[in-house]
């Protein structure tokens, strides 16, 4: 199933809409978000949190994290 989410990359300046299949992993979702940003090739490790601030397991599927249509998430790059 495809859902739409609102993603915030820590080095970006606005939130972006991400449409994604829920069977993808959290790590893939983080990569998808930073690919839309201004410096996709910079690399660095990515961590992802939901709106409550909970750290999400990069190997979990999006479906398993409970993220659904219209949810927000934040990706931090170090």
């Amino acid at each position: 199933m495809r859902i739409y989410l609102f993603g915030y990359a820590s080095d970006d300046f606005l939130a972006r809409v991400i449409v994604t299949p829920t069977e993808r992993t959290v790590a893939q979702l983080a990569d998808q978000l930073v690919a839309w940003g201004l410096e996709p090739e910079r690399g660095g490790s990515l961590t992802m949190r939901n709106e409550m601030g909970d750290l999400l397991d990069p190997d979990s599927t999006i479906a398993a994290t409970g993220l659904g249509n219209g949810d927000t998430f934040t990706v931090e790059r170090r």
């Binding site: 609102f6 915030y8 820590s10 300046f13 606005l14 939130a15 972006r16 219209g70």
Partner: protein
């Protein structure tokens, strides 16, 4: 013998007859006159500070029109653009599209108060206010029309408000809430008390000062002329506020003030903040947007609050924090999504960056790397390499992109209601939505419409949906990749 003004004015402005065939409540229904509904006794002392007769009004307006039209004639149409900075031309285009037909909507608000305001003096002031707003529509339309021969996008002076372009949707959402879908009391507080005594001063007077320094004397005359009208009819708000507070409506008054302050701030950072600091030539900048906001808007607003013993809005600290950043983040949004605009957008050059860093000491560290990145993208892959192709998330209250205050400082939040999840750029936007959720819940942002298939997801189709004929009308980089910029003439549509 003709009566002297002072012999008849007091009598004429207070003609409040007692209706015989309907009762007062039917004549002034709460739905249109506003709440709390009070008998006329409560409104009897409604007084404007500066009184005007119709004769004086007509004489003054005639002089003001003559001053504006005199400059227009003196310049002669073939010279309207002579000597103007290309960035400034885009600023005028942005301003005209966003403002001209809002003024016309403002006439409807004034006319509602002219019929449903609760005292005859209020109704008289609003009648003149409606004439003001019609004038404020006609002048930019006339000047925009003059500009058409040189730049076809000046037709957005009239066209913009008839489109679903995203900036315009945000503006319509605000002004519908402020006055088109508001009763007479709410309009007086939101439009006259908050917007006109606070924010429009910035849009018209501060920008008039900049227009003078940018040698755009027609625009300067237009803005200054409009502001003198605004200052007169803005005084409608004070006696309405006084009556509300004297009759137990302090909480309602405080809510309207808080709500409208935040909503106006949102639009002004997008419209005025970006225009002042990224489209105004350096030598025309007298103060920074932040300095203008503090001196011209916040200080005046504080005096108004103190006069009525009202509280500072609960989100004041967030507003102060945003003054340093939010419009700079927004400019990056305008630049990278410029093909969805009807005007061209600038990337700051070295001298402008230095000026920005003087005014905002964190600017270079915060935004410099992002602009550097865009410069490198241009060199590596041309203009298309500097555009965003994914959709930005939009706030379900202000309808503007859900920006970070600055990179890494995210204030967005959501709300689950009626089986739908709403996104907000900030706590104040969510708070306003929650206070009047029935008013706002059914509205769909552009992104919501794309998601449910009511608007096209493909960018080229979306341009058309927003009324933009690509590539002629769509916004471009102001300097078209030229370096140093502004040396060559800017091609026009």
């Amino acid at each position: 013998m003709v009566l002297r003004r002072d012999d008849w004015l007091e009598l004429a402005r207070k003609v409040n007859w007692a209706p015989r065939y309907v009762d007062e409540r039917e004549m002034f229904p709460e739905e249109l006159s506003g709440h709390p509904w009070l008998t006329h006794d409560a409104w009897r002392d409604w007084n404007e500070a500066y009184r005007t007769t119709y004769r004086e009004y007509v004489a003054n307006q005639r002089e003001k029109d003559a001053a504006v039209l005199g400059v227009r004639s003196a310049l002669d149409k073939p010279h309207l653009f002579d000597g103007l900075d290309p960035g400034w031309v885009q600023l005028v285009k942005f301003h005209n599209g966003a403002v001209a037909l809002v003024e016309y909507a403002g006439a409807i608000a004034e006319l509602r108060m002219a019929r449903f305001g609760r005292d005859s003096a209020w109704r008289m002031m609003s009648s003149l206010g409606a004439l003001d707003e019609i004038r404020h529509t006609q002048i930019p339309l006339l000047i925009g029309h003059d500009m058409l021969a040189y730049d076809g996008n000046f037709d957005w002076t009239h066209k913009a408000f008839h489109t679903d372009q995203w900036v315009i949707l945000a503006a319509r959402h605000l002004f519908d809430d402020m006055f088109l879908a508001a009763d007479a009391i709410d309009s007086a507080i939101q439009l006259n008390f908050v917007f006109e005594t606070g924010f429009s001063n910035l849009q018209f007077m501060a920008m008039a000062a900049m227009a003078d320094r940018a040698h755009h004397h027609l625009f300067e005359k237009t803005l200054a002329s409009i502001q003198t009208d605004e200052a007169r009819h803005a005084q409608i708000g004070h006696p309405v506020m006084r009556t509300l507070l004297a009759n137990g409506s302090r909480e309602r008054a405080q809510y309207l003030v808080d709500k409208m302050w935040w909503r106006c701030w949102r639009l002004f950072l997008a419209l005025t903040g970006t225009a002042m600091e990224y489209l105004t030539p350096l030598d025309a900048r007298t103060r920074s947007f932040k300095e203008f906001m503090k001196e011209w808007v916040a200080e005046q607003f504080m005096k108004n609050l103190a006069e009525f013993d009202l509280e500072k809005p609960w989100f004041w600290d967030l507003f102060v924090e945003e003054l340093d950043y939010a419009h700079h983040s927004f400019q990056l949004g305008l630049y990278t999504y410029r093909t969805t605009l009807w005007f061209d957008v600038a990337m700051p050059d070295d001298a402008e960056r230095e000026w920005l860093n003087t005014k905002y000491p964190d600017w270079e560290a915060t935004y410099g790397p992002l602009w550097d990145r865009l410069e490198r993208n241009w060199k590596a892959g041309g203009e298309s390499n500097t555009l965003s192709y994914g959709l930005p998330a939009l706030c379900n209250l202000c309808q503007l992109p859900a920006l970070f205050i600055r990179p890494g400082r995210n204030t967005a939040c959501t709300l689950e209601m009626g089986g739908r999840r709403y996104l907000f750029c900030s706590e104040p936007c969510r708070w306003i939505f929650q206070q009047e959720s029935a008013r706002f819940a059914d509205h769909k942002s552009v992104v919501d419409r794309i998601v449910v298939g009511e608007a096209p997801g493909k960018l080229t189709d979306l341009h058309q949906w927003m009324g933009l004929e690509a590539p002629v009308e769509t916004g471009k980089d102001l300097r078209r990749g030229l370096d140093p910029w502004r040396l060559d003439p800017i091609p026009t549509a």
